[in-house]
């Protein structure tokens, strides 16, 4: 039997390390998030949840990508155009020497390997300096297609403004010849790693000397690189990824160095979103003047979702279309196999809905008059939806605090006053839930379920593609009807809930919070009056309450608030909750915490972003410290 590859699941090495493989799979639309006026002359601080796209963005600007795109303009037309529009490449090649540095793992170890904290800090800067300089030499050689490290001796450096500080930087970093810089970097790295990795006790006071500042920033600010005496035209661009892996102390030192206004090298720094943390580092800096901040998911949302959904659709197409065409021999693309429309509604269901609403209307003339509208509609689906909408309106009318003693004598209005669009959405959701009809299906739903997260989107598409492969194996066309899509999505949502306990660092409080939010959503969405149509998928807290949470002293006065703070931070950084601060409700500002869209189908919740219920801090804090244990939560 022939074996098939699921391109959404594959994380084979070519996607990590092979530049052309990476460029072939990346959606260039992500570059639209960058404003070329504010990304080169000041630090760019990028933030996103895991899988949000920050590493992809940095990697697109690395020298390997820029050389890859420049060398295959015909294959990467769109990338060439977008990179050109932000000033990263031009017709002759890269204009930036993207120096990619991952800040993960090793650096944090320096702070926790037993060295006194001052020694650890000095070693951190020295090791980072060494790696930045080695990567800079690599970037210079790569920009000219030369082999690294063999050709390093051909690289020389001159400084635009040679002064004592530049000389000091050059002296500490191995001089002004590529091979010398490289040798110095290697020696430094070996020495430091040997200390950290030693199984036997280390005499830290006798340890190798560190750096009190990041000399490489000074060096690169003034450096002009030459190969065989000919100047390299690209300007260094420092791309620092995974800053969240650093310790607080290391991060502070690094960010302070990057924010230093005397530094002129272009520098981008990416870290995982820490939405609730108060950041002292930026307290004295002014956004847009001293640095540019880009929160990837928020920026994507503010671009009205459509461009981001286009990006996702393109990513899916880049991965799947080629394989599908190969496996089926057809020219049809991935999304063309996904049914958009629900199966036609049976007249039996329509009849049941109508009977139900007629019974509820009873002899109320106003309500009966509303029902007259139903027959004017053409399809059973429209009629069933209308009937279900009217049922909600009747329930709302009955729930009004002051019922009329007598019905009005004049002719009752056949048009109930209401917002038809949201009501219809709520009616559709209720109808699907009550009659086991597919609700989650279609290209747009897949994009929404991604919650602005590319990794999550790939996971969803991977499940759909697996279903397609099953059909292909059985010699069937890989169509995925609405019911199958709905089933796959609900199963994936359940799976996401189930895997949370093993993936969260503070699973009990975080799970309690998420489960309670989902329960609030379920309770309000499926109430008879559907008061918060089309449904509730989050909670909100006043900005005052959020400030109390952020302040350690105030927080300590609220029972359970510490747990809640930890749970919220965990959920937000892992993109399980999406926070939207300063949301205006009736003249007051609140922060909305909405569930990740993929958590919603397990509770049959809608996928719209706007529905939430406001809850006071004390109540929410009590949720995270209730008695439910992990085993119970797993069963939920």
């Amino acid at each position: 039997m022939r074996s098939y590859r699921n391109p959404f699941r594959s994380r084979a090495s070519e996607q990590f390390r092979d530049t052309i493989g990476f460029l072939s799979h990346v959606g260039e639309d992500i570059l639209d998030l960058l404003n070329p006026d504010v990304i080169w002359d000041r630090p760019l601080i990028l933030r996103s949840a895991p899988g949000g796209g920050k590493t992809t963005l940095l990697r697109l600007l690395s020298i390997d990508s820029l050389v890859g795109v420049s060398g295959r303009r015909v294959d990467f037309r769109e990338l060439t155009s977008r990179l050109g529009s932000i000033g990263a490449i031009d017709d002759t090649g890269p204009l930036r020497l993207g120096i990619f540095i991952n800040l993960g793992h090793d650096y944090r170890t320096l702070a926790s390997c037993g060295a006194p904290s001052q020694v650890g800090s000095l070693l951190f800067l020295r090791l980072l300096d060494a790696r930045i300089m080695a990567s800079a030499i690599r970037a210079v050689l790569t920009s000219r297609g030369l082999e690294y490290p063999q050709q390093a001796h051909r690289v020389t450096v001159e400084f635009l403004n040679s002064d004592e500080r530049a000389d000091e930087a050059a002296r500490r970093l191995g001089g002004t010849v590529g091979s010398g810089i490289l040798q110095s970097s290697k020696q430094t790295e070996s020495k430091i790693v040997e200390l950290v990795d030693s199984l036997l006790p280390v005499d830290w006071l006798d340890a190798t000397a560190g750096h009190a500042e990041l000399y490489s920033l000074r060096y690169l600010s003034d450096a002009r690189f030459f190969i065989d005496g000919i100047e390299v035209r690209g300007q260094p661009l420092l791309l620092l990824d995974d800053g969240h892996d650093l310790t607080d102390g290391q991060r502070t030192v690094l960010l302070q160095s990057l924010l230093n206004r005397t530094v002129r090298v272009a520098r981008w720094y990416a870290e995982r979103l820490e939405a609730l943390a108060y950041d002292d580092v930026f307290a004295d800096a002014t956004p847009e003047r001293d640095y540019t901040e880009l929160e990837v998911e928020r920026a994507s949302r503010q671009r009205h979702t459509v461009p981001f959904s286009q990006l996702l659709t393109r990513v899916a197409g880049l991965r799947a279309d080629h394989y599908l065409q190969q496996y089926t021999g057809s020219e049809r693309k991935f999304f063309e196999y996904l049914a958009v429309a629900s199966p036609p509604l049976s007249s039996e269901i329509e009849q049941r809905v109508r009977e139900s609403v007629t019974e509820i209307a009873g002899s109320n003339r106003t309500h009966l008059a509303w029902l007259d509208r139903i027959d004017s509609l053409a399809s059973p689906e429209d009629r069933a939806l209308e009937a279900r909408s009217i049922q909600i309106l009747i329930e709302r009318d009955r729930a009004r605090p002051q019922q009329r003693l007598f019905e009005p004598e004049d002719e009752p209005s056949a048009d109930p006053p209401t917002d038809r669009a949201t009501l219809k959405s709520a009616a559709r959701l209720l109808l699907c839930a009550e009659h086991d009809l597919p609700f989650y299906h279609g290209k747009k739903v897949l994009s929404t379920l991604a919650s602005q997260n590319v990794e999550q989107y790939l996971r969803i598409c991977g499940e759909i593609f697996e279903f397609m492969l099953g059909r292909i194996t059985l010699n069937r066309s890989p169509e995925v009807d609405a019911r199958s899509q709905d089933k796959i999505i609900r199963a994936l949502s359940h799976h996401l809930w189930q895997e949370l306990p093993s993936r969260l660092p503070t699973p009990v409080s975080t799970m309690r919070l998420l489960v309670r939010i989902a329960e609030v959503g379920r309770e309000n969405t499926f109430s008879a009056t559907a008061s918060y149509a089309p449904g509730v998928t989050g909670i909100a807290m006043t900005m005052n309450d959020v400030e109390t949470l952020r302040d350690r002293t105030k927080r300590a006065r609220v029972p359970g608030a510490d747990d809640l703070y930890g749970a919220l931070a965990t959920a937000i950084t892992r993109n399980l909750l999406v926070s939207e601060p300063n949301y205006s409700v009736k003249g007051r500002l609140v922060t909305v915490f909405s569930l990740n869209r993929l958590l919603c189908p397990a509770y049959s919740l809608p996928l719209t972003w706007s529905g939430f219920r406001e809850r006071p801090l004390r109540e929410v804090a009590a949720w995270t410290s209730d008695e439910t244990d992990l085993a119970q939560l797993e069963r939920v």
Partner: protein, 358 residues
């Protein structure tokens, strides 16, 4: 760090046969017993056996982070009370390893293990028995590494490792909150900048419910060039290897794109078999790819403690990189029955360095 005795001929015994090793080793120097202070019902199994044999070691207890509560907290508390009772009734000398506040998951093991030497908890010529039953990888790998290195440097002393094996307990201990993958300090492997292109090989020892860990390590390694999943066969359950392949099929074949020819099999009850397989794999690739690129072999242990010891030995002698994505904490999914724990647990003892290899 150079290779000590290569364990071509090794000393490993189980059950009652292990007693002979304890008794032989105890006569060669001051007996020091290192153990974890956690909730694992096996935590005291090794110590009890030593006491039953009339041996009274100096005990070094390694504190472990508290789990998320429930049955595990109760079990941890019971273990502590039982230990205190044993210590008093047998007049044991007990020392507690200290963990500085600034250490994290990646360095906690190496800081503890350096501390054992620095604070003279372990002295030249001691017979040290490390009970890894209740210790996580990130802690016991550096401890074994440090003891082997210390032993080699001072050319004296005995190093033994014991594991209380119980597959039923492995089944009910669940991990909570996978931390990001990272190398274990002390086992970073060669870190110099390679002159030739680097060829990365990852040989994970695959275990049940380890999907999240495997995924995290794969991402950390950024897609290794070759993956050699190691499966337990022969095993008490002859279908265990097949079950593992079935459990991890989407990950191994779809995500990692492992070639079916790359599966390696090791005896699930023999740490030294895994040691041989791993070192052989590394050496074969180095020889094969000599001049083409520099081979960097990474291993990660997700199966039993016994096999983990084999991975530790291979990493120590061949300078393999060890990466973990271990859990933030562990918990008991259900409360085990004490009698069942006693009846189904077998003690396995491995003598790693000292007199038998001279």
């Amino acid at each position: 760090m150079s290779a000590p005795s290569p364990w071509v001929d090794y000393l490993q015994r189980r059950g009652d046969d292990a007693d002979a090793l304890f008794q032989a080793a105890s006569g060669l120097g001051r007996l020091v017993f290192i153990m974890g202070d956690g909730f694992d019902p096996r935590a005291l199994f090794g110590l009890r056996r030593l006491l039953e044999l009339g041996l009274a070691p100096v005990v070094i207890r390694i504190p472990l982070p508290r789990g998320p509560g429930g049955a595990s907290s109760v079990a941890a508390s019971e273990n502590r009370h039982e230990f205190d009772r044993l210590a008093v009734s047998h007049g044991l000398t007990v020392r507690y390893a200290s963990i500085p506040a600034e250490v994290d998951q990646t360095t906690v093991g190496v800081v503890i293990s350096r501390g054992l030497i620095d604070s003279e908890f372990v002295l030249e010529g001691d017979t040290v028995v490390v009970d890894v039953s209740a210790l996580p990888t990130r802690i016991f790998f550096p401890i074994i590494g440090t003891l082997l290195e210390h032993n080699r440097e001072k050319a004296c002393g005995e190093v033994l490792v014991v594991v209380a094996e119980n597959p039923d307990l492995d089944e009910i201990i669940r991990s909570t909150g996978i931390v990001d993958a990272s190398p274990v300090a002390g086992f970073w492997g060669p870190r110099h900048e390679a002159e030739l292109p680097t060829i990365s090989i990852w040989a994970p020892v695959v275990g049940e419910s380890s999907g999240a860990e495997l995924e995290a390590i794969f991402s950390f390694l950024q897609g290794p060039d070759e993956i050699y999943p190691i499966l337990p066969f022969p095993a008490r359950n002859p279908r265990r290897a097949d079950d593992l392949v079935r459990e991890h099929r989407p990950l191994l074949f779809d995500t990692f794109e492992v070639s079916p020819r790359n599966f390696l099999y090791v005896d699930e009850s023999n740490a030294f078999d895994l040691y041989r397989v791993l070192t052989g794999l590394h050496q074969r690739h180095r020889k094969m790819l000599n001049g083409v690129g520099e081979v960097r072999t990474v291993t990660s242990a997700h199966a039993s403690k016994t096999l983990s010891v084999g991975a530790c030995l291979a990493a120590f002698t061949s300078r393999l990189r060890v990466v973990t994505a271990s859990a933030h904490s562990y918990r008991l999914h259900a409360a085990p029955h004490p009698q069942a724990v006693k009846e189904r647990t077998t003690l396995c003892c491995m003598w790693l360095a000292g007199t038998p290899y001279k």
